[in-house]
Amino acid sequence: MSTEALDAAPSFPLAGLVKPLVQPLVAVAIAVLVGGLLVLALGENPIEVYSILVHGSLVGWPNFLVTLQMMSPLLFTGLAVAISFRAGLWNIGAEGQMIMGALAAGIVGYAVDLPTALHIPLALIAAFAGGLAWALLPALLRVWLNLNELVVCLMLNPIALLLSGYVSTHLLKAPGPTNKLPDIADTAALPTFSLYSQVNAGFVIGLVLCLVFAVVNGGTKKGFEWKIMGLNPRFAYYGGIRVPLQAVLVMMLSGGIAGLGGAEQVLGEYRAFYDNFSPGYGFDGIAVAMLANFHPVGVVLAAFLFGALNGGSAVLQMMTGLSKYLVQVLQFIIVLILAAQFSWAFLGSRRKAPPAHAAPAAPKEE
């Protein structure tokens, strides 16, 4: 994989200048186009469908506030995935880390009796620790035993879901038919701002975190070290960066942030831990991070786009014969296209005569 990256890297010097914006926009445009064709095939008018999506998510205060609500968890999971991917660590376990954070916040939220000034911070710390713990295992296994963190994260996601399911349906189940923990105390609840939606103080925390990491990534030694690690871990190692230590640190931060996303859901939106509450925010986080090109400010923009799509999709489902899952299709078409980092180089080298540097790679094309 690494040699391919080296082969392909110099082949789009021009695109490198405008890449930060062009690539995401092209991906979104392709997704919208493919989605439009799908809509057409299902017998609906694509322009009408897209205008419903935009209208249902952005026009009017209630719709806009719902968009902000839908965007909140994606801020956390998107940022969590972005900082780990940027450092070359494929943390696709944000879903499980978020669930463990939410579970920790849910337990601290109802089981502890404290004044608000202490209760909210304690619940947030618990959520951070829960997500962190769930990311620590893949990180340590990666560093000590060189186990692929992707595989471990992949297995830890269902473990988190099943464990939290066990806790919320058996161990600490609230009385009543619903599978959930008891409601959190009012002292642990994150304040909401409006009656129209559940957007809450967690949204602000997510925004602040994104800004903090924009500064950390762009303006500190740590952020630079993480970037080098992601670009070339061997170079980073020989350059004196303590790669294993930094890798564990990045994974812990990433997991902790995903855990805070769980706290936003439990303390802000649902006010209790519900079994199976996440419709896949951890995986949507991958989509957000890819679209953001792993940049924290980009995460805010991408989370806004996907939050708007999710918000609009409920309206779409009500007003047309289409399913809200159209939005999921759009999201992961975007991911697929953005994952194909080198397709631009491929297109370039196909149209013209193959450039000289493509020659050594030729046997691979067979």
């Binding site: 017998g43 035993l145 060189n146 595989v151 899952y325 697929l336 067979e366």
Partner: protein
């Protein structure tokens, strides 16, 4: 009761065996295909939609397999041609498949979340001539539907083609030493595409069995992470066909128990469902410990796949 449990364990393991055989081929060719669930869900949907439209199970299974192969082709295209990271592309293909099937479920069949129909014919159970007369074993092994037998017959076929044919040798060389394979003149990319498409075929059969095998029903995300369990079996058995099938059968038995036990004892089903994942993480740790012992700990930060 025990024979019933064993019977249902064999039945429940069927899609796991199919998916594990599919994932195993790409694993042997050096690709970790995590989109098994995505291939399966597409096949499950296509199979039931086609069966509903035509009333023919044969066409339905063929159509399901064809759609799964198309998804496999999509992943192969993005991974091999466009150089997308296989995990990211795999996650994308899986969730794309989940979304697409849910979208089409409402768009084509007009149902929300679940579709079932009693006009679709069922697979007839097949009794095996001599085995069915053996006292206990007969009740366990005989009386399944065609796809169940096909699944278990796939295991020796896959083992044979991997270890006894020239093609299988090439697949394993590609997986173990891609550079050596290239130097030896093996068409690496072609082998990889072939294993990925075959992976689609097996997952297609798994998906068709899911939606048409027990009762004719499709639900959103109905694969229920069976692809992940199959992947766990592959990791656990390091991609060898017979052990992988055996582990898949054990994981299937755990699933069958997780359906049965709570009814009788009131135990939590989640704890039994945890088994495949926990066991796999533990197995990975054991393998990692074994490898770490022999490795120079002062090397650079190494990035091997698995």
């Amino acid at each position: 009761m025990d024979a019933d449990l064993a019977f249902s364990a064999i039945r429940i393991s069927t899609p796991l065996i199919f998916a594990a055989m599919g994932g195993l081929l790409t694993y042997q060719a050096g690709m970790l295909n995590i989109a098994l669930d995505g291939f399966m869900i597409v096949a499950a949907f296509a199979a039931i939609a086609i069966a509903y439209a035509t009333g023919s199970l044969t066409i339905a299974v063929a159509g399901g397999v064809a759609c799964a192969v198309v998804m496999a082709g999509l992943l192969a295209l993005f991974n091999l041609r466009f150089r997308a990271h296989i995990f990211i592309a795999g996650v994308a293909v899986t969730f794309l498949a989940y979304g697409l099937t849910a979208l089409l479920l409402r768009g084509i069949l007009g149902e929300e979340g679940v579709f079932s129909s009693n006009t679709i014919p069922n697979f007839p159970p097949i009794a095996i001539p001599f085995i069915k007369d053996i006292p206990v074993l007969g009740r366990v092994l005989s009386g399944h539907t065609l796809l169940v037998y096909v699944a278990y017959l796939c295991v020796p076929v896959v083992a044979w083609s991997l270890y006894r044919t020239r093609w299988g040798l090439r697949v394993r060389v590609v997986g173990e030493a891609e550079d050596a394979a290239l130097a030896a003149g093996i068409r690496v990319e072609r082998i990889k595409v072939q294993t990925m498409l075959l992976s689609g075929v097996f997952c297609g059969l798994a998906g068709a069995y899911l939606s048409l095998g027990y009762v004719s029903l499709f639900a959103n995300k109905m694969t229920n992470e069976r692809g992940l369990i199959a992947l766990a079996a592959i990791f656990f058995a390091k991609g060898r066909p017979y052990p992988t099938a055996l582990v898949a059968l054990l994981f299937g038995t755990a699933t069958a128990l997780s359906v049965r036990l709570p009814q009788m004892t009131g135990a939590a089903p989640q704890l039994l469902q945890l088994i495949p994942y926990v066991v796999t993480v533990l197995a990975l740790i054991v393998v990692g410990l074994r490898n770490a012992r022999g490795r120079n700990r002062h090397g650079a930060w190494k990035f091997d796949v698995t």
